[in-house]
């Protein structure tokens, strides 16, 4: 422990306080500085600050009310968007399924006119699976897209 460290620890405390105290007793320079250190500690301790004026909490809450309301709205907004998106998808789903079924039926009718049955069945099954996959991916993408559209309330770039 150096003299500087011992004096700093003597004033502010810290993990090596005991070693610092021993140093200040053993070191003539630090022993000579001890009254000044005590005086400094007394002066610093005596520096008290009056508490904040009454009513400050209410004034701060009033000033922050608009920001808090924006934050609360920001919290509700993603859920509202998601609900909206799911409603639209569920509304459109029967139409999409009907259109896909019609497409598969038409493909089957057209292909069976000039292709052997086994080849027509293979192609139509492949088309059905492909359309089902597209539909599943489209439905799965809705909540993801809605989440990406997250409403951002006012935030600072630096705090």
């Amino acid at each position: 422990v150096t003299c500087e460290e011992a004096q700093t620890l003597g004033l502010l405390g810290g993990s090596d306080s005991l070693a610092a105290a021993r140093h200040r007793v053993a070191c003539a320079r630090c022993a000579a500085a001890q009254p000044r250190l005590d005086d400094l500690g007394r002066r610093l301790t005596a520096y008290r600050v009056e508490g904040p004026p009454p009513g400050h909490v209410e004034r701060t809450l009033a000033a922050a009310a608009g920001l808090l309301a924006a934050r609360a709205a920001g919290e509700r907004e993603p859920r509202r968007r998601l609900g909206w998106a799911v409603t639209v998808v569920l509304g459109l789903l029967p139409l999409v399924i009907a259109a896909n079924a019609q497409l598969v039926r038409t493909a089957h009718a057209v292909l069976s006119g000039f292709l052997p049955t086994y080849l027509t069945t293979y192609l139509v099954t492949s088309l059905s699976l492909f359309l089902a996959l597209l539909l599943a991916l489209g439905c799965a993408a809705v909540p993801l897209l809605a989440a990406r559209q997250r409403f951002r309330p006012l935030e600072e770039s630096h705090a």
Partner: protein, 178 residues
């Protein structure tokens, strides 16, 4: 009882009760920090700084890292505001009424009252050393927490504190000699 960090999470969702709770816990230490850092007794100015600190807390609550301590974040925001104000004050001349208040403050600081004496001592430290001293001595922050507030390595905080204490001791010694 909810931790400060949990309350910030609720604040980020717009919970006014969380802000009230944080104000109850931290408004007094924040006021003391701002008053000691600026060395001002101008209540209107202190209230402006304090209120702006809280508004920034509300605005930035969504980006608060809950693995860190709220107190260091709060003091960091307040410190930035105090520094901004100090810079602006240095750039433009004071209006007459503010200059009068500052002169009155300085005259009060020169009185033999012990509390004001400590304030005048702290005022003579460079800003970086003063911030470290206030956070460490009056708010009981560890060196690591002080470093987090000041955004510098712990070693730098130690060095600033050593220099600050040495300078304060020199000032006290000079005063005693005089």
């Amino acid at each position: 009882m909810a931790s400060d960090e949990e309350l910030v999470g609720r604040l980020a969702r717009g919970d006014a009760r969380a802000l009230r709770e944080l104000l109850g816990r931290w408004d007094r230490p924040l006021h003391a920090f701002v008053a000691r850092h600026t060395g001002s007794h101008d209540q209107a100015n202190l209230e402006d700084l304090r209120q702006e600190t809280w508004l920034r807390v509300v605005r930035a609550a969504g980006r608060f890292d809950p693995s860190k301590r709220f107190s260091t974040w709060l003091f960091h925001i307040a410190l930035n505001l105090c520094r901004d104000q100090g810079r602006k004050a240095a750039e433009r001349p004071l209006p007459p009424e503010v200059a009068e208040r500052a002169l009155a403050d300085r005259a009060a600081a020169a009185s033999p009252d012990a509390a004001l004496d400590a304030r005048s001592l702290l005022d003579q430290l460079p800003e970086a050393q003063r911030s470290a001293m206030i956070l460490r001595y009056y708010h009981g922050l560890s060196e690591a927490e002080t470093a987090a507030v000041l955004e510098c390595p712990t070693g730098t905080v130690k060095s600033r504190l050593h220099h600050a204490v040495a300078r304060l001791l020199a000032l006290v010694g000079k005063e005693e000699a005089a």
